[in-house]
């Protein structure tokens, strides 16, 4: 499915009320607002242990886990490090790694 954005992926310059939509609705703001920067701990999938049950995919609240080539793949641009995937993985296949500064 082709996703088209009407505006560029940069923040839109807003001078005042009349440049704004009536409601707080931003055009593709998540493209530049990368919430992955909030993460302290990084979940890393160990594909040797992973049985591809996709429970992590289902539980990720962001959702930052995508299915790529029939494997769960974490999108670190948006993974906020809540570690729900770690908690839910039945095979303990997701490791926690501290984010280095």
């Amino acid at each position: 499915m082709a996703i088209k954005f009407q505006k560029s992926d940069k923040p839109i310059k807003i001078e005042g009320a009349h440049d704004m939509p009536p409601m707080p609705a931003a055009l593709g703001s998540m493209l530049f607002n990368k919430t992955g920067s909030w993460r302290n701990v990084r979940p890393v999938i160990d594909y040797d242990k992973c049985i591809k049950c996709f429970i992590c995919w289902k539980f990720c609240p962001e959702p930052a886990i995508k299915i790529v080539d029939e494997k769960p793949v974490i999108d670190y641009d948006y993974c906020k490090g809540c570690l729900m995937c770690v908690e839910e993985c039945p095979k303990d296949a997701i490791n926690e790694e501290l984010e280095g500064k």
Binding site: M1, A2, I3, K4, F5, Q6, I14, G16, A17, M20, P21, P22, M23, P24, A25, A26, L27, G28, S29, M30
Partner: protein, 382 residues
């Protein structure tokens, strides 16, 4: 086509004629027959809509918010405690600028548990950013539902249509149902400029800091101001196809009146009749019915008051610790504009019947006294 129906069904059929696409409702107390009828209509295939049964009124409004965000025409109905439970979501619908229309049967807030007429439920939601109507007949309910979708979808503000429990909700009246084709022409499908669409992704309701929140409030106020003209224009359009006239207020025999009663809901209809009898007795009185409390039709009200020397407000509601709410609103509208006494009366709380004789008593009291009063509790058993 003329049909007899109770006020509840006038709301249901108004929604059907408006071709609502999503109805979300909590089906038990304090719900009314409005959504029961609609669930029949949907189940019988007479209306192509999704009927969502939810676990609370808070969820009902949340579901309407979701539906309306995707561009669907959403409807729900509630009453008293149910409306109160929606409170948080009402602010959301308002600030998200979603043109949801909702019926609310005006019932007294519990305790004591009550299912009888009282306006405190919807007046408690006055500041949520919803346009707010008090209907006074079954015809008014049906027509207001259709008109409100058109107005709401133009100005992007939701509308609450309230009407008195039992006196209107369960009273059978003759209602002229407009033909579907006529309504379809008047009310085309909703085509929002901003909607949730996977093919055109946007973030809705995201974190909005002080750099922008203030401006969203400003825009809401602007929309409320514009709504006054949009309501008038839409009512005119509706009158052209149905012959029925609506406005933000309804002034009855006010032109030459010395004393004007200010009323709303079913009390307004009874007051019209009372005005006729008082006129026969030689009293130059009129009745000013407030239909919309938001947007508040200040200019229309001042114009209708014209040269009257005195006003008497009847409130079927109370802001405890101050006074009736329509009375407060009226006084603030008059300040710096017209300097005449306003007499304030409370009547009919919790469904106490307000008869012609009661309104006559109120009128005589107002005619006899020139000084403004704080509050008179009509018929309270002290």
């Amino acid at each position: 086509m003329k049909k007899t129906m109770m006020g509840n069904y006038a709301a249901s059929w108004g929604a059907q004629l408006s071709r609502v696409q999503v109805i979300a409702a909590y089906p038990i107390t304090p719900q009314t027959l409005i959504v029961e009828k609609l669930s029949d209509i949907v189940a019988d295939g007479e209306l192509k809509a999704k009927f969502i049964k939810v676990e609370s009124e808070h969820s009902a409004m949340a579901a309407c918010i979701g539906a309306s965000s995707t561009g669907a025409r959403a409807y729900t109905a509630t009453s008293a405690q149910g409306l109160a439970l929606m409170h948080e979501m009402l602010h959301w619908a308002g600030l998200a600028r979603l043109p949801i229309v909702m019926a609310n049967v005006n019932r007294a807030m519990a305790p004591g548990w009550s299912i009888w007429a009282d306006q405190n439920d919807s007046l408690s939601q006055r500041d949520t950013g919803w346009m707010s109507i008090f209907s006074s007949s079954a015809q008014d309910i049906l027509d207001s539902t259709i008109i409100s979708y058109k107005v709401s979808e133009k100005v992007l503000l939701p509308t609450l249509i309230s009407f008195d429990a039992f006196f209107l909700s369960h009273t059978v009246e003759v209602v002229d149902m407009p033909e579907q084709e006529l309504v379809d022409k008047f009310l085309p499908p909703y085509k929002p400029e901003y909607k949730m669409d996977v093919n055109d992704p946007r973030s809705f309701g995201a974190l909005t800091d002080e750099q922008y929140y203030y401006e969203f409030r400003y825009k809401m106020q602007e929309a409320m101001d514009q709504a006054i003209d949009v309501i008038k224009e839409t009512c005119r359009e509706y009158e052209e196809i149905t012959g029925r006239h609506y406005d933000l207020i309804h002034a009855y025999r006010c032109e030459d009146a010395d004393m004007i009663m200010v009323t709303s809901g079913t009390i307004a209809e009874t007051t019209n009749v009372t005005v006729d009898t008082l006129r026969e007795e030689g009293h130059k009185v009129g009745n000013l019915q407030i239909r919309y409390i938001r947007p508040y039709p200040k200019k229309d009200i001042l114009a209708a008051i014209g040269g009257a020397k005195k006003l008497a407000v009847i409130d079927r509601n109370i802001s405890p610790g101050y006074s009736g709410i329509f009375s407060q609103e009226l006084k603030s509208a008059l300040y710096n504009e017209i300097d005449i006494p306003v007499r304030s009366y409370i009547a009919g709380l919790g469904g106490r019947d307000v008869k012609i004789e009661d309104i006559k008593d109120i009128a005589y009291n107002a005619l006899e006294h020139d000084e403004p009063n704080d509050l008179i509790w009509k018929g309270v058993k002290k």
